[in-house]
């Protein structure tokens, strides 16, 4: 938000907002016909998971729409109360299942903060690398899925093809493709296997190539642009009120990235990279920011790989971990947005209460606001561009 004052923010954002207000007004004034309630979900291809959207339609125009979640609520906040700290990471892995490793990090950091330990530098670097890899794995699937939501079938296969390389990397380092469970309080479970760095560099090249392919297959496509430009505009102040985070916030012109803007025991501030923002705040901006972020993430990984310090990957921590009494909040810039844990400890082997602040919950809470007055196909566009993972909404 530093350099973007209202003049620069782009008239497009404001104009489109006025247009949506006009659509709102039109709905109210024009001839009152009997509306139709359309249930999108819980089982629907566009909700990748079990989100249900109840939409009141006038023709194909949405009068109001409201998401109804909870079809996948697993009660993780309750479950953490009966689990020990090492066991909790197996749970939080499954919140945003496409970027699992990134979910572990803030929780482990919170526990480390309460215990007053810090992971050795090598562990911090490897953590950051794996964090960015999970971002690449996560967002590359978004880029492919975006195509499916908008009716193009090929991108998703290209995404699955190239994401596989990243998953292989994560698996060969951590042992788990989807649920690495590799982070430990005080460091990492293990060091990297031999040859991993060279392989990762190759894969990062492939991923950049994938980004180029998606850019020319999808982002340059006139149909794609006409479907996303000016659709679902979220102005900056609304985005902040709803607590949108990640690419959704940056696409509304807020220059805020937790990786850069907060001190954390990770290696992001050791390398130079760029935070991408977009002034428009529409669906295209959100997708575009994500595409750029994927590219940037591969560059971050490349730089980090060159400078991994040598040393241990585990600090000295007791075998049975008891976390001293206290409260800690740690959040990181996850693939989906700001993911944070508010951990309350009572000096026990398990947390007393964990509030999981997941990105998608806030991101999707704007849906009733954003869907007023749009057409049915735009529901899908807006949902796709807001990008949620069901596990991340329901927890």
């Amino acid at each position: 938000m530093t350099a973007l004052d209202d003049a620069v923010l782009g008239d497009r954002q404001r104009l489109s907002y006025i247009a949506s207000q006009a659509a709102d007004a039109r709905l109210n004034v024009e001839l009152e016909t009997e509306g139709m309630t359309l249930n999108i979900g819980p089982q629907h291809p566009a909700t990748h998971g079990t989100l249900r959207i109840i939409a009141r339609l006038d023709g194909e125009q949405v009068v109001w729409a409201e998401p109804s979640c909870g079809y996948m609520h697993r009660g993780y906040e309750k479950l953490t109360e009966v689990r020990t700290y090492p066991q909790v990471t197996t749970l939080v892995n499954r919140i945003d299942w496409l970027g699992s490793f990134a979910n572990e990090v803030p929780f482990i950091l919170a526990a480390e903060k309460l215990m007053g330990v810090e992971a050795p530098p090598r562990a911090q670097w490897i953590r950051t690398i794996l964090f960015e890899l999970s971002r690449v794995a996560n967002v590359s699937l978004f880029l492919g899925d975006l195509g499916v939501q908008l009716g193009a079938i090929t991108p998703v296969f290209l995404a699955f093809r190239d994401r596989e390389y990243v998953l292989n990397l994560i698996e060969s380092a951590t042992g788990g493709r989807f649920h690495p469970n590799f982070d430990r309080i005080g460091g990492l479970k293990d060091d990297l296997p031999a040859g991993w760095i060279a392989e990762t560099k190759q894969v990062m090249r492939k991923m950049r190539n994938f980004c180029d392919e998606i850019e020319s297959l999808l982002f340059g496509n006139e149909i794609f642009q006409s479907r996303t430009r000016g659709i679902g505009v979220i102005p900056r102040d609304v985005a902040m009120q709803y607590g949108l985070s990640g690419a959704n916030l940056r696409a509304s012109g807020v220059d805020w990235d937790l990786r850069r803007d907060q001190d954390s025991p990770m290696a992001w501030n050791k390398v130079s990279w760029k935070v991408h923002t977009h002034p428009d705040g529409d669906s295209f901006a959100r997708c575009w920011v994500r595409l750029q972020e994927t590219r940037e993430a591969t560059l971050i990984v490349d730089q980090l790989l060159d400078g991994i310090p040598s040393g241990p990957v585990m600090a000295k921590v007791p075998k049975i971990i008891k976390v001293p009494e206290g409260e800690a909040w740690v959040s990181t810039e996850n693939p989906l947005g700001e993911m944070g844990y508010y951990v309350v400890s009572r000096g026990d082997i398990g947390p007393f209460r964990v509030k999981i602040r997941s990105a998608s919950f806030n991101n999707i809470s704007i849906v009733p606001w954003a869907l007023r007055g749009v057409y049915v196909p735009d529901i899908i566009t807006i949902l796709a561009s807001l990008y949620f993972i069901l596990g991340d909404i329901d927890r």
């Binding site: 979640c69 609520h73 607590g243 001190d263 309350v344 509030k355 602040r357 806030n362 809470s365």
Partner: protein
Amino acid sequence: MGLRLSSPAEPPVDAARDAMVAEVRAVLGAAVLDSLVKPGDDAWIRVSTGAWRQTLQSLRTVLGFHYFCFLSAIDWMPSPFGRGEDDPTQPAPERDATIRPGYCGGDTRMQVFARVVNPVTHAAITVKADVPDDTMTVDSVADVYEGANWHEREAHEMFGISFAGHPDLRNMYLPSDFEGHPLRKDFPLLARMVKPWPGIVDVEPLPGGGEGDES
């Protein structure tokens, strides 16, 4: 848009956060019951129940905390069930049931807390408020931060806290006829109740006592 290097040594005092809390105290006055700054970490304030909505209103409009991070609640009563790892054949163990509040203190079992961020200075603050044990009601802040709407619905169904003035306190996750509030500590986690803990030692001793060295 350069990179910001982390400060090498942790400062013993956190001037920025102290100043921020002082500013908040100056604006809110007597509503702030307690505050805490952990240098280099975070800042907490606790306000009186009646001032909860006014506090967030002032934080947003006066102090520039435009970004809403989350709102939730916490039940400070220790769980009467432990981790569900008791041996059913043994008498139930004694458990400490005293309610101890966390940072910034508190007088009630339940507390609501919210975190808001100033997007310009990137300063953040966690605000807590007690929830009266008898009414279980605090004011809604859904009209201050629109994003609080869903968070309050979640806190309502999970903790049974009512938010006065909330437009629509329906359940988010649970069926509408669900009884109980799952995140309260006295709500048993059935998954851990229906099955005995497999970690209870099940080693049959030698017939007739037996002798020999344990190895």
